[in-house]
């Protein structure tokens, strides 16, 4: 339809329904994500964006529908399934980092390089972490500072580096720039573009259309739990998107 369909989607949702009591948060939602693309999921407050990504990430259970990874159906019942079965990394700004530990340890938590499987090889750990951080152009004083001392943007960067170190292919970012200053937003943008360059898929939730138009290749618009539109960035403009979000355009 609107995207490069010669490639196989890496992740698809089909007919996802989800209700909370009487509130139907998602109705029949289909989305396709491809490698090397940045997709923005947009919509008003309460449109169902967070619910959708929480289902994909294994935090909520869908009522019905399917999730396919590289064309095969996967059951995602808990966050671990999303990681193990579908290579999905959901980057929550505050949830995924250990404040009391430093950047290097956070990036390689539970996959630390060791001597004989016993003692952590800190030298290698910090060297690898430094390489990764440098490669992603994340602005940090050192990989040995505690996460507690980092700014919101730096944490976001570390969380992404962490996911990347784990060989994840799909990155879900829920409002990654919400709490950030202008400069930090720009850093996150270049980070997102870097991920795309590395053939990763990014699903980005954002309220900020400026931001979305800077980085996204494609936009999926949700309204009251339904997908009301899907546009490539090239084929649309802000007015149309605002119309879709508000329901002025049907």
């Amino acid at each position: 339809m609107v995207s490069d369909n010669t490639k196989l989607p890496i992740l698809q949702t089909k007919n996802i329904d989800k209700s909370f009591g009487h509130v139907q948060a998602l109705k029949n939602v289909d989305i396709d994500l491809y490698p090397s693309e940045v997709v923005a999921l947009i919509g008003d407050n309460g449109a169902g964006k967070s619910t959708l990504i929480k289902i994909i990430s294994g935090i909520y259970q869908k009522d019905s529908g399917e999730i396919l990874y590289k064309g095969n159906k996967v059951e995602i019942n808990e966050p671990k399934d999303a990681v193990d079965k579908a290579g999905i990394s959901t980057v929550y700004q505050d949830l995924s980092l250990v404040e009391v530990q430093d950047v290097g340890v956070n990036i390689y938590l539970n996959m630390e390089p060791t001597f004989m499987g016993l003692f952590i090889n800190y030298k290698k750990l910090y060297r690898d972490a430094e390489k990764l951080i440098k490669n992603l152009k994340i602005d940090l004083p050192s990989v040995r500072v505690n996460v507690a001392e980092l700014s919101g943007g730096q944490r976001q960067g570390v969380a992404i580096a962490r996911a990347l170190a784990r060989g994840r292919e799909i990155f879900i970012l829920d409002e990654p720039t919400a709490a950030l200053g202008v400069e930090q937003q720009a850093n996150i943008n270049s980070l997102i573009l870097k991920l795309k360059e590395d053939k990763k898929t990014v699903l980005l939730i954002s309220h900020n259309l400026e931001h979305v138009f800077e980085v996204a290749d494609r936009l999926i618009i949700l309204r009251r739990g339904e997908k009301v539109g899907e546009r490539t960035k090239k084929s649309t403009n802000k007015e149309e998107i605002v119309g879709l979000i508000t329901g002025a355009i049907k």
Partner: protein
């Protein structure tokens, strides 16, 4: 100067050395016997038990849980071993193995109540503590069971450098735990579990398993401490009052030593110093000719101060 202050603020285990030394000097000024070799070796012998248990407790608290059943488990294990040997004719090694398995089981129960059922570990372990301490009283009707076969007193009779086997065992365990915490994946997993459980889980760390092992280690070391206490007492009695109130010494000790009630913070060295600090206060009050009944109030006060400091530090870090 500022830098030094910051450093001490970050490294409570080092900072605590300052009041620790001042305190020793203060008690020394009250009574020179404070630094007598006999006093010192006696203090080291006493420290050995709470310090040994604190090496489990420090891991548990870094993982974000707490165990107040430690002292009760000590007495339970002592009494149970005596009972098994005296009334059921078990051999000493058999009794020791059974008792230590029981201690591991108690750790499992604590972990289950806390993590699976979701009872705050403070409450859950006070509960198991009451149960096992109560059982030790009921096994004995409150009267110590003794004497034990001589072989039971073997480890207790070893006194390298006029101190005790337990003390050197404790030092070895402390060294081991310090290495575990600072240099192994187990260490990073414990800190992550206590600091941000969700982050740990997302990284594939089984936080239930982490907490389970920490609970089990704490109970196991408590069981060992119970048996070792017994082996050092004359007549090796299975006495239900073994370790009475010791859980507070352990708790106060690790918190004074920089372990946080909020989890994710602390070190083995710090805990060791903290436990020693508590014991210096206890012994110092006696040696310095204070009213010995002041020990508990002093301990309570120290515990409150240390916790207050922990809370303030935590709030400050959040801000």
């Amino acid at each position: 100067m500022r830098k030094l202050f910051n450093y001490l603020y970050q490294k409570q285990e080092i900072a605590i050395l300052i009041p620790f030394l001042l305190l020793i000097l203060f008690f020394y000024s009250r009574n020179y016997a404070m630094l007598d070799p006999l006093t010192i070796s006696s203090i080291l012998r006493t420290i050995a038990f709470p310090a040994l248990i604190s090496m489990g407790m420090v891991q548990l608290m870094i993982a974000g849980e707490i165990d107040l059943s430690t002292a009760a488990v000590m007495s339970f294990c002592a009494v149970l071993s005596a009972k098994l040997i005296k009334d059921f004719n078990f051999e000493v090694p058999e009794a020791v193995i059974i008792v230590l398995l029981c201690s591991l089981l108690i750790g499992c129960v604590n972990a289950f109540l806390t993590v699976k059922i979701g009872i705050f570990s403070v409450i859950a372990t006070i509960g198991t503590g009451f149960i096992v301490r109560g059982l030790s009283y009921s096994f004995t009707n409150g009267v110590p069971i003794y004497p034990m076969p001589e072989s039971f007193a073997f480890l207790g009779s070893l006194r390298p450098l006029n101190i005790s086997f337990t003390f050197f065992l404790m030092l070895a365990v402390a060294f081991f735990v310090q290495i575990l915490l600072t240099s192994t994946k187990w260490g990073t997993a414990i800190y992550a579990t206590g600091s941000n459980r969700q982050a740990a889980e997302v990284s594939g760390i089984n936080t239930f398993r982490v907490k389970l092992i920490c609970f089990m280690a704490t109970s196991f070391l408590s069981g060992c401490a119970g048996l070792l206490t017994m082996s050092q007492l004359p007549g090796t009695p299975g006495d239900p009052i073994i370790g009475l109130n010791l859980e507070l010494d352990i708790l106060a000790g690790v918190i004074v030593g920089g372990v946080s009630l909020y989890g994710g913070r602390g070190s083995a060295i710090g805990s060791l110093i903290g436990v020693a600090f508590i014991q210096i206060v206890r012994s110092g009050l006696v040696i310095g000719h204070f009213n010995p009944y002041l020990q508990l109030p002093a301990l309570g006060l120290l515990l409150m101060l240390a916790v207050a400091w922990d809370v303030i530090r935590h709030k400050k870090n959040l801000a």
